[in-house]
Amino acid sequence: MNTVEKSAAADYVAAIRRELADLQEDELAEIIDDLTDHLEQVSEELGGEPTVAQLQARLGSAHDYAAELRAAAGLGEARAEASGDARLRLRRFVTWVMVAAAAFALLGGLTFVVLGYTWVSALAPYALLSVGAVLVIWLIATVGRDPVASLRDLPVVAFGERRIGQALSGLRRSAWGAATVEFVASLRPAWWLVRAWAVTQVVTVLVFDVPDNFGLPLPREPLAIVVLVLAVVASVWLGRRTSGGAVRGWPRLGVMVLNTVLVVATPLIAASAADGAGWRYWESEPPALVGCPPGAIVVDATCVGTEVPRLDGLTVGDARDQLDLLRLEARIVPGDASEDWTVTRQDPAPGEMVMPGGEVSLLVETCPDGFDGQYPDCEPLIEVIDVIGVPLGHASDLLQSHGFSVEVDLQAGNADGVVLRQEPQPGAHLVTGGVVKLTVEAVPADEDVDGS
């Protein structure tokens, strides 16, 4: 019965079905079954693929056939179409909503596979759920014993089925087409395995909350393996029963729905698993994968940051180099510290995490407070005092009393002048004995010197 060519004969049957739509579902289903059988034999009689005209010549118009059948079977006149019509409209509406939801879900899934955006992947389960919900509504609206036939009767599905059927029969007629179609059909057992795997992935994540990448292609967790084996057995059993034709009515519809949902969902599932990030996409914020430098800590392809190394005890130069490698910013305090001074304190502390590009402050001293030989080469750092505007002699005394050496640039001025510029600037740090260069203002020889 399921091998009737999708053609004029199928249309004829569908037309009669519509004429008899007011009958009880069970009765109607049996009648249509018999009718389909009969049409097949009549088609053979008429040479294989009769046209509508041929069928009508042989059997009468669909309307007449239905009327004659009614009369002979004692089924009574067709009842008022009102209720049947409303139901049909409801079914049509729900079908379109279902199609829209399914298209939305499929589109979301494909976008996810191609572009990997997390917000889409968050939408995908809801899209699938919405398809499921709409399907449930439709099923409630079309209570009957043969939901598969009801489904086939819907305009969208009937149209699609006819087109696909025509395409397939056209394909079968070409030399390579037949072989191809047969090959694809022979892949059905492979599909049983694939859908078992997909179901396993979903189940282990939702039910057992296995957080990590539980394995592509096969799960590593023992529990997940058990689920996989069970799923494979169930799927193969179901597949064999379905293809053997033993599954009808509601169970058949259930299998069709399951297959549809899984066909849409499997690319999503496979993409997730293959990504190595596993199912974290479904649960949490997207990982920042950009610019994860070497040495950074990567957890499940997530860049969770860089561990700050121990930098105290190193010279400024070495510390800078290390931080550069890790793509971290160094902030040296004081800013004018020379490269061979020693880092004595760091913030954040060694072992703490900093995101790539983050800042690490390094306090540099040549001798920290409480130095006790920990930093062998450190020397005391002294802040340079401000001697600008101070007469040279006085300035020199001050600087020397602080432990600095003084160099005077006398080319423009004379020994009685005031300090115009000092180098390094006031506030800078120098080691003991460090040199402060003074530039003295030029003073005319005959001017009185202030102060002194």
Binding site: E30, I31, D37, L59, E68, L69, A72, A73
Partner: protein, 111 residues
């Protein structure tokens, strides 16, 4: 005279008679009826009659799977069906006799 009217009246009997010879499926019964000379019989009428007779309990039905794929639904007479056939046959005979008698009388009158 419109044979289809006659046919409607006796189709039950014809179908029962065909099934008495051997069980059959829908298409097969149509073929046999046409082969016997009832060329006007409609497929829908035969199917409808089979269903109605089954519903009234005159027929049994069973499915025979075939190698080409589709399974055929066979109808056959049960005891009630055989009884019905006998009664209908008697009715038909007496009706035919009465009608023959009427026709004979008429012909005699005309003659």
């Amino acid at each position: 005279m419109d044979t289809s009217q006659l046919l409607k009246g006796v189709l039950d009997l014809a179908v029962l008679a065909v099934l008495k010879t051997s069980d059959g499926y829908g298409y097969d019964v149509v073929r046999r009826l046409r082969g016997a000379g009832l060329t006007e019989v409609g497929d829908a009428s035969v199917y409808g009659t089979l269903r109605r007779l089954y519903r009234t309990g005159a027929l049994t039905t069973y499915v025979v799977p075939s190698e080409e794929g589709p399974h055929r639904k066979y109808y056959g007479l049960n005891d009630a069906g055989r009884e019905l056939l006998d009664e209908s046959t008697k009715t038909w005979q007496s009706f035919a006799d009465i009608l023959s008698g009427l026709l004979d009388g008429e012909i005699r009158e005309i003659a």
